[in-house]
């Protein structure tokens, strides 16, 4: 019986078996400096090259330990790519590396003006849902949310060029606001 290939059936593996701990952070994994600015096309090329080397398909005839390692490593590479690809996720990851927790679960306080604006946008979304000119409204809303997001994007980039606690705090707040906006944009897209 080919039990050896059945490693990945729904049975628990040991924790160590799932830990691809190479002592590298996501930037290091891609051979990139730990910084906010990066070239997306370059990132994508590095990602494809890493996958070409380490994907489980390359290890189909290799020994068991190598296949297991390949699986863990490529899972990490995929997680790293997702984190670095999106500017908000990248910022959140960078802040975590710098010891700043964006505290989605623990800290619910946010800028009042921002929250009011979000509530207003959500109301617009609800109204748009059943409106006669739904498509137009959704398009307008989409553009508004995008504009708000872009404005913060530029600010965020500048916060990472400064190496101060104030800058990091500002970056943290921007990240939290941008996450809100991303969620909203997603909901608008779902309706379009």
């Amino acid at each position: 019986m080919r039990l050896r290939r059945e490693l990945y059936r729904l049975t628990g593996q040991t924790f160590a078996g799932m830990q691809a701990d190479l002592g590298k952070n996501y930037f290091e994994l891609f051979g990139l400096p730990v910084a906010f600015d990066l070239d997306l096309a370059d990132l994508a090329a590095r990602y494809r090259d890493l996958q070409r080397r380490f994907h489980p398909d390359r290890f189909a005839s290799a020994s068991e330990p190598e296949r297991r390692l390949s699986l863990q490593l490529t899972a990490q590479i995929n997680a790293a790519f997702q984190a670095l690809k999106d500017p908000v996720a990248r910022a959140r990851y960078l802040l975590a590396l710098l010891g700043v927790d964006t505290g989605e679960d623990t800290d619910t306080a946010m800028d009042t003006a921002f929250l009011m604006e979000q509530m207003e946008l959500r109301e617009s979304l609800d109204e748009a849902r059943s409106a006669a000119d739904r498509d137009v409204r959704l398009e307008v809303l989409h553009q508004r949310v995008d504009a708000e997001f872009e404005a913060r994007s530029a600010l965020l980039r500048s916060r990472f060029t400064e190496n101060s606690e104030t800058a990091r705090r500002q970056a943290r707040n921007l990240v939290r606001e941008m996450q809100f906006l991303q969620k909203l944009a997603h909901e608008v897209t779902e309706l379009e």
Partner: protein, 625 residues
């Protein structure tokens, strides 16, 4: 004829042994097996020269089951014992079956477990066993044609198949004695067949409408890397539904009453399908229904009527298509080529609607029935190790979000749909009672927020958590989806480092015990010598491991191992060589496990070095795009 180059043990350069690997398309309506021979991938015919094997099994009392055309012939006369479209039951529970109602006119056994069992003249059969019978037939065909024993197979599944459906497919392959090299998504397989054929680059949409499932996948092809951007579908929509729509129309036109016997139902379905296919090449086709009272109804099925009947079904394929495009962040005009896969895409109306949607003519050059098996064969050839210089890489995705049940009957997503696999995600849990030593995690698949609207995958019980004050434990649970799209779970209490033991209760799958029993039963009835087969398999495994370790030692043994470590590995290798020469299957298995353990650290060092080499290469090389 396959070329087998056998390497002598102890040779300094191991010549590459060509391994026999095949691609299998286990379809709802038809199944195929394909292989690469002399550099060309093609499907393998049976003795009568037929490439397609109808996915139909006819069970008989006191005799082996019949598979394929001969079984299809029995369908009309022995409907309850002739199982067709079993793919629709894979990874499904008895409740799903009830909902499918008269689409599958078989007798089901009420059972203790959620897996439906079909009553047949040969006894109860689960869908996994029926699929295994089909796979066994293909395996025999391949081994006869290729004149040798198979070392592995790539088996395709609809991209939209969930974990339970995939696991069921893997279980069926295991029962059939096939070593699964990879579960490959059908649209991706088709992309491989077309992509390599045309040496193409760009963004493709694969529209795959088979007998029972619909998949739409959006892929980017770049220098041999096939990257799935998004996938969507309907795992219960296909040509079968069109047949039913036509059969229902014939029923109504013939003025038949509600309850007709199974034979009439099957005959109607068969005639409906024939009429549907005839209309591909003719504008109208005569149809008739033989009523139970002996009278006959005769009519004409025109293309216009067909269009009326199937348009709602084709429309249903466009919703997932829109969703996949949205998930990929693309519009229809961004797609460079649209590929048609599956027999149902032969229908002119289907091609018409797809053409209108994408505003371009879809590619149909490669036989839509064979293209998936051909793509699978290409990958099988590479995974078996026959093409060490191949640049092809398939980056596929998980089609459905994975989530956990949380308070209030809600689902919290932990791995979103269209995440590239393999993927890993960790989540921390804590205890809510003092001294709590176990934790129950319910994993589901789906996009909705309520547990009741998602598909239950399995319940994982984590045991062995060190007893602590409530809320003090930090249990890190790691969810990993492998390259086959299958989920694995591990858990550890962070503070103490204690690993939890995990027992899994699949919601719609076979337990390990059930599969072991089926394996024993199937081997017995297949007339093979259990012991001899197991021994042979272990010996092949041993050879493979020895070759891999020897190659690794030759390459890096000096660099990464000190004398003691090397001696330890050499000793375990020798022990394995010794066991392999004997006839004790268990001893060989244990020796393999021992060698794996002994080389673990070595493998980790090599991998780490590989990563460093890869990164160093990037820092210097600015021109790779």
């Amino acid at each position: 004829m396959a070329l087998l180059q056998i390497s002598e043990p102890g040779q300094s350069t191991a010549p590459h042994e060509h391994r026999l690997a095949v691609g299998i398309d286990l379809g709802t309506t038809n199944s195929l097996v394909a292989a690469v021979r002399s550099g060309v991938a093609d499907t393998l015919p049976d003795e009568q020269g037929r490439h397609l094997l109808p996915s139909v099994v006819h069970y008989r009392h006191g005799a082996d089951p019949e598979v394929g055309e001969v079984a299809l012939e029995a369908a009309a006369d022995d409907p309850l014992n002739t199982i067709a479209s079993v793919k629709r039951l894979m990874g499904r529970g008895i409740e799903d079956v009830k909902r499918l109602g008269n689409l599958l006119p078989y007798e089901f056994s009420p059972g203790a477990s959620a897996m439906p069992r079909i009553q047949t003249a040969a006894g109860e059969r689960s869908p996994v066993e029926v699929s295994a019978d089909i796979l066994r037939n293909l395996k025999r065909r391949a081994e006869a044609t290729l004149a040798g024993e198979l070392s592995g197979a790539v088996i395709t599944v609809p991209a939209y198949f969930d974990d339970a459906q995939r696991q069921a497919t893997k279980d069926a392959a295991r029962l059939a004695g096939l070593d699964v090299l990879r579960l490959l998504n059908e649209p991706t397989a088709a992309a491989v067949a077309y992509g390599l054929d045309q040496n193409a680059e760009g963004v493709f949409a694969i529209y795959d409408l088979g007998g029972g499932t619909f998949d739409i996948s959006i892929l980017r092809l770049n220098r041999g890397v096939f990257e799935v951007l998004a996938t969507a579908g309907d795992s219960a929509l296909g040509g079968d539904d069109m047949d039913h729509a036509i059969a229902d129309w014939m029923w109504r036109e013939a003025g038949l009453s509600e309850h007709a016997d199974h034979k009439l139902q099957r005959r109607l379905l068969r005639d409906a399908r024939a009429a549907k296919q005839a209309l591909t090449n003719a504008p109208t086709v005569p149809v008739q229904v033989l009523r139970p009272d002996g009278t006959a109804w005769q009519g004409e099925l025109t293309r216009a009527t067909l269009v009326q009947l199937v348009d709602p079904l084709i429309e249903r394929t466009l919703a997932p298509t829109r969703r996949a495009l949205k998930d990929a962040g693309l519009k229809p005009q961004d797609i460079q080529e649209v590929v048609m896969v599956g027999g149902s895409t032969r229908m002119p109306r289907v091609r018409e609607k797809v053409q209108v949607f994408f505003a371009r003519e879809p590619l149909t050059r490669i036989d839509p029935d064979k293209v998936v098996a051909i793509g699978a064969a290409i990958q099988a050839d590479i995974l078996a190790g026959n093409k060490p210089d191949s640049d092809m890489l398939l980056l596929d995705v998980i089609p459905l979000s994975l989530g956990l049940e949380v308070m209030g009957g809600m689902v919290e997503k932990i791995i979103p749909r269209n995440s590239t696999i393999p993927t890993v995600r960790a989540q921390e849990f804590t205890t809510f009672k003092d001294g709590q030593t176990a934790l129950l995690i319910h994993v589901l698949q789906g996009e909705r927020d309520l547990v009741s609207d998602c598909r239950s995958l399995a319940r994982f019980e984590l045991r062995g958590i060190p007893p602590m004050v409530a809320g003090a434990a930090r249990i890190r649970v790691t969810f990993q989806v492998d390259a086959d799209g299958l989920l694995g779970v591990a858990a550890r209490e962070q503070g103490t480092g204690v690993e939890a033991t995990i027992s899994v209760k699949p919601s719609y799958g076979l337990t390990d015990a059930e599969i072991e029993r089926m394996l024993r039963d199937s081997i017995a009835y297949a007339g093979e010598d259990n012991a001899a087969r197991n021994l042979r398999e272990q010996q092949v495994d041993a050879d493979r491991v020895l070759e891999a370790v020897q190659a690794a030692l030759r390459a890096d043994g000096e660099k990464y191992l000190d004398r003691d470590e090397r001696a330890a590995i050499d000793a375990t290798m020798e022990a394995l060589q010794h066991a392999r020469a004997g006839t004790d299957t268990t001893a060989i298995k244990q020796a393999i496990t021992a060698l794996d353990s002994a080389t673990q650290a070595f493998a980790a060092r090599r991998m780490d070095a590989s990563v460093r080499v890869a990164l160093a290469g990037h820092r210097l090389d600015e021109f790779k795009i």
